[in-house]
Symmetry: C2
């Protein structure tokens, strides 16, 4: 009997050998560059994964929600950076977590929030460490390294004893797909964040933390001079978007969705499976990349790639699996989809975006090296 | 104090007045057409909503997962159709639910499953009612009304005492956007399913159930001759996709995501909010429609539309809110986004696809007619 046969479908399967390879590879790389790794746990939201990251040498964690912070703290993990610009209304929760023992650092990029933080800290008699978010790629939030606002923010936060440093995330790295472009983006991210730190210091302000990172830049940087820590998240599981970016292969992807064939449209060459977008998520991150995998790349139940087979369409609980001879390594189309993938066949679908697919599940079925399964729950919601 | 001020963001807010309007409107419409309504509860996955649907006259429920069936049964709701082609491995769960008191009907469109059902029922000494899925629009699964396979399936299921009727879902109706096209699709759905029933009956096979439906066709059908029941789901909440299809207005949308402004990129006219794709889902259903709302249409905290403001981009916990003067009713762009939407502003974002957005949350904050909030949990996962 196959070890996954005991699972109902759809189910999230995590290949622990691949996970551990990905975790060790990143830790070794960042350690070799001489800086700390602070993993972003928004991908796994799972204590078993976070504990392995810390055991390998990670120094603290990055979270995307205060719920993740709360759950880390409950597990004894105290060094936590909440890397979403703080909404002032969340400051009481931040303070409560700090008073329960979390060394929780927060983020802002605007004076309104900085002033709200200052007032709050004054009233509460506590200094909450704050990083200034730096915009190094114009993809989202943050202040420009050369801006006057950077120094205004630095002064405002320092006045309340809260200034802890600078942080950036070059999310634009997801649009890169050559080693040269990735290295250039990594250097742009590093140089912009370090420049912001140097300007703060030149103005007489403290800037102990210089935090950069994204999985593509973390795996492409050749030097991290001036940086104190790297954050990255999706590297733990990897996904098809990262394979298209060029920082992993499909065989590195640790997360897959186990699905069962429930029918066919033989004339159209389709197999229908019982995993739709509710299981895969609606993420179509590979749509604009070199290889569009639809809703995912199909593998057999052992996780071996079935080149050419992709989930070409999805409804809530239905996935349409079809063969595309134009996909890399696809070979010739099968004569008969009903024979190729009979009803009851179990498949594993690799996700476009692991963070989004993982979030559709309450937890993972961790397929361990010895073939046994463990239940690893997730910290979903807020 | 605003009733929603007590909520942390992001949060799923359900406007109960709009919900009840939507529920009553559909029930009246289907009742007036002389057939039963069997709501698809995959949108809400919420007992409080389902109970209101039943109180208004719904006859049984449709589910997308066996977990929904299990939860309904636990609440005393027994008349249940599981409207995803059955994976034979799920038959023991189906049987267990039936033996616990569920009148659970299942679905198939292929002989392999029909034979598996027949064998299983023979061994277990129980007949499980099965509907044959009919393909009336080539969008997904099902057998053609004129196919030989239809009769083969009917005979196979009848031999094991399981044949209960036919079911179709014209999901292609989501691509329609004129009353004429919607009415034509509703008639295509009706006619195809009724034709399949007639062919079965002409072959001497029983076909008591003739089940059709999708929200667009249910709200557009002008006659349902030969149909016994209509299924529809998203009508309960409505969404921007349905508004583009033309079967509701934006003011009918009952679900929104409460979010807080956390910063700006003033030169780009952006406000950043603390609701990203983790809250909205990655569903971009309006991308291919007449009006592309990005990740959602922005409203103020009272749910009033802010024409022109949409969530134009999203990362995991960040939403980018921008102004698009080309959107209907937008008027002129504001001179300063920082003044228009200051840090701390609370907004409510209407979703592209309510089923997908709702699934990102553990439950709803139901905003009742008297302004109070109730917690309505969801039945997530499988």
């Amino acid at each position: 009997m196959h070890p996954l046969d005991i699972l109902d479908t759809p189910a999230a399967v995590l290949d622990v050998a691949r996970l551990q390879h990905n975790l060790a590879h990143m830790q070794q790389r960042i350690s070799a560059l001489g800086v700390a790794l602070r993993p972003h746990i928004k991908t796994s939201k799972c204590l078993a994964v976070v504990q392995q990251q810390l055991a390998l040498g990670a120094q603290g964690v990055t979270v995307s929600t205060l719920k993740e912070a709360q759950q880390c703290l409950a597990a004894g993990i105290t060094d936590i950076t909440y890397a979403v610009g703080i909404a002032p209304a969340k400051l009481p929760q931040v303070l409560a977590l700090r008073r329960q023992g979390a060394q929780l650092t927060i983020l802002t990029d605007n004076l309104a929030s900085a002033q709200a933080i200052g007032s709050f800290c004054q009233v509460q008699g506590e200094a909450i460490p704050v990083l200034i978010e730096i915009d190094t790629d114009q993809h989202r939030s943050g202040v420009a390294p050369e801006s006057g606002l950077l120094l205004d923010l630095g002064r405002a936060l320092h006045a309340s004893g809260c200034l802890a440093g600078v942080l950036t995330h070059a999310g634009a790295s997801y649009q890169c797909n050559t080693p040269a472009a990735l290295q250039a983006m990594a250097e742009q991210e590093r140089a912009g964040c370090v420049r912001a730190a140097e300007r703060l210091r030149a103005a007489g302000l403290p800037c102990p933390v210089v935090s950069v990172g994204s999985t593509p830049t973390a795996l492409s940087a050749t030097r991290l001079h001036g940086v104190t820590e790297v954050r990255a998240g999706v590297y733990a599981f990897m996904d098809l978007v990262m394979a298209n970016v060029g920082v992993c292969s499909a065989d590195d992807i640790a997360l897959s969705v186990l699905a069962t064939v429930i029918g066919h449209q033989a004339e159209r060459g389709w197999a229908l499976v019982d995993a739709g977008w509710m299981a895969m998520s609606r993420d179509r991150g590979t749509q604009s990349q070199a290889c569009d995998y639809g809703y995912g790349q199909v593998c057999d139940a052992d996780g071996r790639l079935l080149p050419g087979w992709v989930m070409s369409g999805a409804n809530q609980e239905h996935g349409i699996v079809g063969f595309d001879a134009a996909k890399p390594g696809a070979g010739a189309a099968p004569a008969d989809v009903v024979q190729a993938l009979p009803v009851g066949t179990r498949l594993r679908i690799l996700p476009n975006h692991a963070c989004a697919t993982a979030a559709q599940f309450a937890g993972y079925h961790a397929l361990q090296r010895d073939g046994t399964l463990a239940d690893w729950p997730r910290w979903n919601h807020w």
